[in-house]
């Protein structure tokens, strides 16, 4: 029953979010702000995580395929496909759920408990749309770019680790990442990213928007936002994989 209650409330919130904006110029400015806050400010963490994970994926692949029958370029190929298919979309999605999700839920939650949302409503502003829509648009637009950066940096990280430790030569690795490349895998990763961006921003906003109580409840709602965003990301990973790759 609780699920249907929350789902219904979430859908009603989304109808408010996607209603006609009061003044599109203001929304445009807000979206630019959110692009920086949610997108540009996440580039650093995405680069750091991607370079190390790309390195680890390459090393683990190399140590688990130490068989003379396996050509060494397979290390590059496997690293590339792992990064594109799962790491740069889903893992980065989970990381962003932690970073962006908690930030959105606590920001909106604090606005709720300090009556800033009531102040917006009293002025006649559609607070749900004003606060949430720019975040959704910014993430849906920018997260695919983060995924592309993550793919590039992850593959590069793999090359650094592989060549520096000597588990694979530079030629083999580069041949591997170019071998049997399926461009649709990138499209698949980007489609997943768009879904995840929507899940992270809307679910986190929902938990922030309806928070009641004080600082403790804002913290709890922030945790809930991250947990439920992660669960939904993993659920949609399965659904989208079945739909897009079957």
């Amino acid at each position: 029953m609780q699920f249907f209650y929350h789902f219904g409330k979430y859908v009603i919130l989304l109808t408010k979010v996607f209603s006609k904006p009061e003044k599109s110029k203001i929304y445009y400015k807000q979206t630019l702000k959110e692009l920086i806050s949610l997108g540009v400010n996440s580039i650093g963490i995405v680069i750091i995580i991607s370079v190390f994970t790309g390195a680890v994926i390459t090393l683990q692949t190399a140590y688990n395929t130490e068989n003379p029958f396996y050509p060494r370029y397979l290390i590059g190929l496997m690293a590339r496909d792992t990064i594109i298919l799962e790491f740069s979309s889903t893992m980065v999605g989970l990381i962003l759920a932690g970073k962006i999700g908690s930030s959105i839920a606590s920001e909106i939650g604090t606005m709720r408990i300090t009556e800033q949302i009531d102040a917006l409503e009293i002025m006649g502003v559609n607070s749900a749309s004003y606060l949430i829509l720019p975040k959704i648009i910014a993430s849906v637009l920018f997260n695919p770019l983060l995924t592309m950066i993550s793919i590039a940096i992850g593959v590069f990280g793999g090359w650094i680790a592989g060549t520096a430790t000597g588990v694979v030569s530079s030629e083999d690795y580069i041949y591997g990442i170019r071998f049997a490349f399926i461009p649709f895998y990138v499209t698949y990763a980007l489609i997943k990213t768009v879904f995840y961006a929507f899940i992270i921003t809307s679910v986190s906003s929902y938990y922030g928007y309806f928070v009641r109580g004080g600082a403790l409840e804002v913290g709890r709602s922030s945790t809930k936002a991250v947990v439920y965003s992660c669960i939904l990301i993993l659920l949609f990973d399965v659904i989208l994989t079945q739909l897009l790759l079957s």
């Binding site: 300090t114 009556e115 800033q116 002025m123 006649g124």
Partner: protein, 249 residues
């Protein structure tokens, strides 16, 4: 005129407002007083539409506001200014940005015109040289005054104040009260103030309603209150020994 007509409000089967009917007139400072938990804030939030009422009607100049949908309410809300208990300033915007915000949202003024109007309102509430400070960098009294400036920037017809004196010292309280009274007369607004500050009640209560356990227990002016025989009201207004002695005198 704002007319509250037999309104009821409950939360989880607990009735907080019971059959409240009252009228608030233009150019007057109307006070809602009562103990904590008596239903003052619920009444104020029901009048402004932040809470949906269970029964009854709230009318703004013959428009049944409580029955309007969000889009229809928006037109009336543009005429409402509200001062919240905790000021409710946008904490990541500066003082000036806070005051400019309603102008940004609902007018087509140029940036210079908006700044001029914001500075006029800030000067009106005696906030000088604080335009670029954030709410966390100014005192509680200043925050209230900035919130008043934001509330009046669109020339509201209705001004609502939820405990404007909470957390302020007596001198700042007096300043804020005088400011609200002046603005009410200057802008000819219908001002409704929620308070349990007795200085405010005695100083400028042109119309006072006393709420007790969700009902209107007494209605009158600040002059009437001194001669009231209402036991509950007297218990509330003259709560301490000194006040009781003064009443006897």
């Amino acid at each position: 005129m704002i007319k509250v007509d037999h309104i009821w409000k409950s939360f989880n089967h607990q009735t907080v407002l019971k059959d409240i009917s009252v009228e608030f007139e233009k150019g007057k400072t109307n006070l809602i007083i009562g103990q904590s938990g008596s239903g003052k804030t619920v009444l104020l939030k029901s009048i402004v539409g932040l809470l949906d009422i269970d029964k009854g009607e709230v009318k703004y100049d013959d428009v049944v506001y409580s029955k309007l949908d969000f889009r229809e309410k928006k037109e009336i809300r543009k005429k409402i200014g509200m001062l919240f208990q905790g000021s409710a300033l946008f904490d990541s915007s500066t003082v000036e940005e806070n005051v400019i915000y309603p102008l940004d949202m609902f007018t087509n003024m140029s940036y210079e015109e908006k700044r001029e109007r914001a500075n006029f309102c800030l000067n009106r509430v005696n906030i000088l040289n604080a335009n670029h400070l954030y709410p966390s960098e100014i005192s509680g009294g200043m925050q209230k005054r900035v919130a008043i400036a934001r509330a009046i920037v669109l020339n509201p017809e209705y001004l609502f104040c939820d405990e404007p004196d909470s957390g302020l010292d007596p001198i700042t309280t007096l300043r804020i009260n005088n400011l609200i009274k002046e603005i009410t007369e200057e802008f000819n607004t219908i001002t409704i103030i929620n308070t349990h500050d007795m200085n405010s009640v005695m100083e400028f209560g042109e119309k006072i309603i006393f709420i007790h356990i969700g009902q209107i227990w007494w209605e009158g002016t600040n002059k009437d209150i001194l001669h009231s025989e209402n036991e509950k009201l007297n218990d509330f207004v003259f709560a301490n020994h000194m006040a009781k002695r003064l009443k006897q005198i």
